[in-house]
Structure formats: C-alpha cells, structure tokens
C-alpha cells in the first residue's frame, strides 16, 4: 500500500498539507499542541494567582488584574485545555486506530471542529487582550462560572468570552458526535462492545456527555449575552429574573463537563495499568459499565454546586442523595485498578509512574468530594479553597496527570521516537511533589474558611497563621510544579531530535494501535487490520 518509511507525518509535506488535512492523526497533533499552548497560558495565570497569594496583604498585582487572572485561568484551562486535551488530542489520535478504522466517521467535520476550536481560542484571546487596547473596556473578571447578575454588571468583555465558549462548545460537540458514530459504525469486524479497549468506553461515555450537555451551555451563554445586550431579565433579579436559574442552566452543562474532563483520563489509566502490569484488567465489565454509569448519573447531580445558593432545601436533599450515586462507580474503578496490580508484572516506566500518581491523587480528589456532597459539611467548605483543592486534585491530579501519562504512552506511536526514561520519571516525581505541595495545603485553607477568589486575606486570630503558612507552601509547590511540567515537555521535545527510533510495540500492549508501525501510515494500517486478540489478553 505505501512505501516503506512513509508515515502520516511525512506522507505529505508543507504547512498547507497540515492545515487542510483530514487525517485524524494530524488533527490530533494539532489539537495536542494547541492544548499545550493553552496549558502554558493557563499556567502563567495560575502562577500569577499563586504569587499574589504568597503572603496575606500582598499587592504584587492589582485587584483588577488578580480577578482577571483567576477568571482567565479558569476559562483557558477548562475550555481551551482540559476539555480538548484527552478526547480531542489523544482521543483523536488513537480512537480510530483502536477501532481499526482508517479515519473517524466524518473527517471533514473533525477538521472543522479543530478550526472552530481555533476561532473560539482567538475570540478568547481577543477577550483577554482587547481590554488593554480599547478605551473603556475592562479586563474580564466574572470568574469562569459567569454567575449572573455579576456577569451582567461587570465591565469586562463578557459577551466576547461567552461567545468564545459558545463557539468552543460546537468544537466539542463535533468531536463527541464523530466519536460516537465512529465507535458505533466503524469498529473492525469481530470487535464486539465488550471487546473494546477501555479507552474507547471512556471516550464513548465522554462523547455522550459532550453531545448532550454542551448545547445547554450554548443556550445559557446565549441568554447571558442577550441579558447584557437586550436586558431580557431572565437571570437578572433586578428585573424579576432568577439568578439561581442561571446556575441551574450553567451546572446542567458544567457538572457533566467535569466528567467530560475526567472520564477520558480514566480510560487512559485503564490502558496504562493493564499494559505496564502485563496483566488482564481486573473487572473489565465493571470498569466499562461504570464509565457509562458515571456519564448518565452525572446529569442528575448538578445541584450539589448550589446547596447554598437559595436552591430549596428539598432539591438540595435530592441532589445530595444522587451525588453519592456518582461516588460509587468512581470508587469501583479505583478498586479495580488496584486489584489489577495484584500479582502483575509491574514495570515502572514513565507512563506507569503517572498512572500510579493518578491513583494516589485521584483517590484524594475523589474522597474529598464526599465532604462536598454531604450537605452539612458543604456549608463550611462551599466556595472556599477546599473546593479549589478538591477540583484540582480531580482535574489536575486526575485528568492532567492521565493526559501526561497518555502522552508518554502514545508518544512513540505519534512521533516514532522514544524519550529519555530517566528524565521522564524525574519530571513525574517533581510534578507529583509540587502538585501535592500546591494543593494539599489548600485543603487546610478551605476547611478553616478561607474563601476563594480573594485578592488578599487577613484571617481572624484563630487561623491567621494557618492561612499564611499554607498559602506560602502552596506557592512554593506551584513553582516546583511548573518546573516539573517544563522538564517533562523539554524531555519530550528533545526526544524528537535525539530519541531512539520506536518499535511498533514498545510497551508490549495489546490494543490495535500497537500493531501498526510507529508512526502509523497515512490510513493507519498497512493492511486491513484483523481483530485477532482481545484487549488485555496477555
């Protein structure tokens, strides 16, 4: 079919061949580097926040800049980085190969999704930059949640940013839609549903969420923009509207959205643990079904973000009850992964190091969720640093760590080179330490009552010392964390130049993507793939 030595990277040359490609692998790479750029930007704002909060009465940056920093940190990390990171970057790359197809079901739509993402990103960038150039515009400071009526009142470019998020939503919908159809219709002959790699289950569950939840954020943001333009009064209490309704709308998407973020991470971890234990995954059906269960249940629980927002006690009770329903499938997954380790042949390669730190961090993230799902303890913790810490343990300790692990796992497949194991593992260790320093300290900040989004903090006599020392620790950790991530990417980038050539299957994994060459040829497989062995059969 193709000459020896050609692959999807050198199959066509020139910048135009990339910009007009419909090859899912190339689109995956473009998504990957765009998301990494977003990570860098979001990280920059995160460091800005941390340096500001290093000591109590700090005035490193102005209040206005601080508010902008946490808003943009949230918006960029959520909409530009985490949501596309695993599904659109890694998922795009591996999903069609894992199902044994030549491409996703709608390749042109896939490219369109990328360009929509680019347009959305440019709009977001404009919303960040324009206030510094246009007279009368103020930096965006409504927080990534855009809660009405503050988002109606603030002078920042809320409309531009909500429209950016609206556009990015389409990108997300297109990716999800593509994945669902690809998994349903393009699986290689012989691959039944329960013979799919767990990564596919996770991506499938994610896609369901993307397709079903994203339109609701679309209409929410549209209504918010209309609220600002026309003053329609649906969310504005001054006009007889209901800001709590905005929160219902917002969280109907944004709660499932955190599962859009974490589920693909869980899929990656399933692959990693099984591969590097060289052992069949424990409880395949349980893990697969729990992915779907999480996806469905996540639609029932959004109200746990609103226990104190004048939602009625009745519905808080219902939401709290259902929230615990989502804890169970997550717990089941963790137990299954640990059980997979039992009597395995554990090889501590870099991706496995990430998988293990995922287990450690996600366990903390998941368990601390229990405090927030419980009604009475949520009263102490709601809108404090505890929530920030919990969220980062799940999103960073979960998704981003899984993303890094997956990136190392599939790097040889993407670029056909092996990175340096020593530096890879070292970076993983530094990230692990830096992360825990940054965010574990924030649990104490939150439980003692330090609210989030505070530019400076005094604290009352009882907790002033705690707040001061923990914030300082957190800032130190953030610096270490940033260094770790930098080392990781430098190591990966250096490998492009100097890395050993990767074999077809460097890890001894069982899924279909390892049966093609590294990097794969243009249409993925040199010859028609055959589904000869089930995943995880060692």
């Amino acid at each position: 079919m193709s000459e020896a030595g050609t692959n999807y990277i050198n199959h066509e040359k020139g910048i135009m061949s990339w910009l007009t490609t419909v090859d899912h692998k190339r689109i995956g790479l473009m998504y990957l580097w765009s998301a990494v750029a977003a990570l860098a930007a979001g990280g920059f704002f995160a460091l800005m926040i941390r340096f500001q909060l290093m000591s109590p009465e700090n005035d490193l940056i102005s209040k206005q800049t601080y508010n902008q920093a946490f808003t943009l940190h949230g918006v960029i990390m959520v909409f530009l980085f985490i949501i596309p990171s695993i599904p659109a970057a890694l998922g795009n790359f591996v999903l069609p190969i894992q199902v044994g197809a030549k491409d996703v079901a709608f390749p042109r739509m896939n490219l369109a999704s990328y360009y929509i993402y680019v347009v959305g990103s440019i709009m977001a960038l404009a919303a960040i930059a324009l206030p510094y150039f246009i007279e009368g515009w103020k930096p965006l400071d409504a927080g990534w949640t855009f809660y009405a009526p503050y988002s109606k009142q603030t002078a920042g470019p809320v409309i531009l940013m909500t429209m950016a998020a609206f556009v990015l939503g389409f990108s997300s919908i297109f990716t999800g839609l593509n994945f669902i159809v690809t998994i349903h219709k393009l699986r290689v002959k012989g691959m039944g549903w329960y013979k799919m790699p767990l990564m596919l289950w996770a991506l499938y569950a994610t896609s369901i969420l993307q397709v079903l939840a994203t339109p609701v954020i679309g209409i929410t943001l549209l209504l918010l923009a209309m609220e600002r333009v026309l003053d329609i009064g649906i969310f504005d209490p001054a006009k007889g509207g209901d800001p709590v309704l905005f929160q219902h709308f917002f969280w109907f998407y944004s709660h499932p959205a955190v599962y859009i973020m974490i589920l693909p991470g869980m899929g990656v971890i399933s692959e990693l643990i099984s591969t590097f234990c060289k052992k069949v995954i424990f409880g395949y059906n349980a893990i697969a079904n729990s992915s779907i269960a999480i996806a469905v249940i996540s639609f029932f629980v959004w109200g746990h973000h609103m226990f104190l927002s004048q939602q009625t006690t009745f519905s808080s009770m219902v939401f709290s009850f259902l929230t615990f329903g989502v804890a169970i499938p997550s717990a089941i997954k963790i137990f299954n992964w640990v059980a997979t380790l039992y009597r395995g042949s554990i090889d501590l390669k870099t991706p496995m190091c990430y998988a293990l730190s995922f287990l450690f961090l996600f366990t903390i993230g998941g368990l601390t969720g229990l405090y927030l799902g419980t009604l009475s303890t949520d009263i102490i913790l709601h809108d404090t640093y505890f929530v920030v810490a919990h969220f980062h343990y799940v999103m960073f300790g979960g998704t981003v760590i899984a993303f890094f692990g997956g990136l190392h796992f599939w790097w040889p497949k993407m670029y056909g080179v092996m990175y340096n194991e020593f530096w890879g593992r070292l970076a993983c260790g530094i990230i692990f330490i830096g992360f825990n320093m940054t965010f574990f300290s924030q649990f104490f900040l939150g439980s003692t009552g330090m609210p989030r989004r505070y530019h400076s903090y005094a604290g009352d006599a009882h907790v002033a010392e705690t707040w001061k020392s923990m914030s300082g620790l957190s800032t130190m950790g953030a610096v270490i964390l940033g260094c770790g991530i930098a080392i990781m990417f430098i190591n990966l980038l250096i490998s492009l130049k100097t890395g050993k050539k990767a074999p077809r299957n460097p890890w001894g994994a069982t899924t279909l993507e390892w049966e093609t060459q590294s990097p794969p040829v243009h249409e993925n497989f040199e010859e028609e793939p055959k589904f000869t062995r089930e995943p995880y059969s060692y």
């Binding site: 079901a105 839609l177 209309m226 329609i232």
Partner: protein, 226 residues
Amino acid sequence: MSSHNTAKIEVDKSQFAERNVSHHFVDADQEFDSCKMGMWLFLLTEILLFGGLFVAYVVFRTWHPETWEAGAEHLDWKMGAVNTGILIASSVTMALAIRQAQLNDKKGTVMLLLATVLLASGFLVVKYFEYTHKFHLGIFPGGDNYMFPGKHLSNEFIYFSIYYMMTGLHVLHVLFGMAGIIWVTLRAAKGEFYSAYYTPVEMVGLYWHLVDLIWIFLFPLLYLTK
C-alpha cells in the same frame, strides 16, 4: 426488512453523476447509516439547545401565569396558525422531495425542494409582519426596550423576552434550514442525488422536520395561552 419497490429502479447514467463511497467507509450502507446517526445526534443537540428555553418558559410561566396570559393577548394566534400550516406543508414537500430523490426523479426533487424554500420564505414573511406589528406597538425584546404604552403587568416583558428568544432562535434555524435546502437543490439540479445516494437531502430533510417539530410546540405554548 425488505420493502415493496426498492432495487428495481434503473439509474439513468446520463442524468445522474455516480458517486463513490468515501475512502474510510466499507460500503454505502455504512456511510449512509453513519451519516444518519450523526445527524440524529446533531438533532439531539438542537433539542437540548431549545430545551433550555423551554425550561425557562415553564419556570416563569409557573411563577407568573397572569403575565403569560396578559402577554399572549398581544400575539395574533391566527398568524401563528397560518405559520403552523405553512411549516407543516413545507415538511410534507420536504419529505416528498426525499422520496422523489429515492425514486430517481430529478425534476420532482428539485421542484419539491424549491416549494419547500418558498413555503419557508412564506413563514418568514408572516413572521416579519408579526415582529413589525409588535415593534410598532412598542413591544421590543428586553426590559429596557419594552415600551408598550397600554396597560400591562410590571413583568410582562419577561414573557416577550422568552417569546423573542424562542421565536428568534427558531427563525435562525429556519434560515439555516433554507440555506441547507438551497444547497441541496443546487446539487440535486446537477444530478448528484439518486436512489443510491441521497444522503444530503435526507440530512437536510431531517433538520427541516426538526424545525417544524419545534414550531409545533412553540405554537400552542406561545399563542394559545389563554
């Protein structure tokens, strides 16, 4: 599932351009099924997009039923009924256009698609008169713009906010649908669609039926509130 009159139709090669299946699909059935499933998923997103507005409608209506009744007084249910009829008729012509494409009737397909566009423009014309009438009365969308001078309840504008949001979004969908129909009409005129390949007509048709579907609910909810 075998059906009555399939597979017996001869394709006139002089009239139609034969089409190949995209490279990554195994066969035409797989391609058609994939497209259709993709379209259904897309329609789901549309349903949920409008879902938000319907939720807002129900919430505010249960809170302020008297506002709803007062607001609906200003709507002309006759115009709404006419528009409902127009959209139903356009749905019929759209469905028939797909049928004619399946039957290799190029001319019929094009004519029916054009009829659909025509009916859609009729819908827009009626909507135009409705909107301008309201603007004339001072009923503009939004709390600050609402300046209807007659007697009204203090929060009546919320009814019209929701009215304008719902119908406005629906009108946008009508416009997108029309663009889609014109696009497939042009392609149909070139003879690109025939019994084995009419996927775009079918997709645009599904979209158009959804537009009709949403109006079916909007009509009683907005116009027949009394």
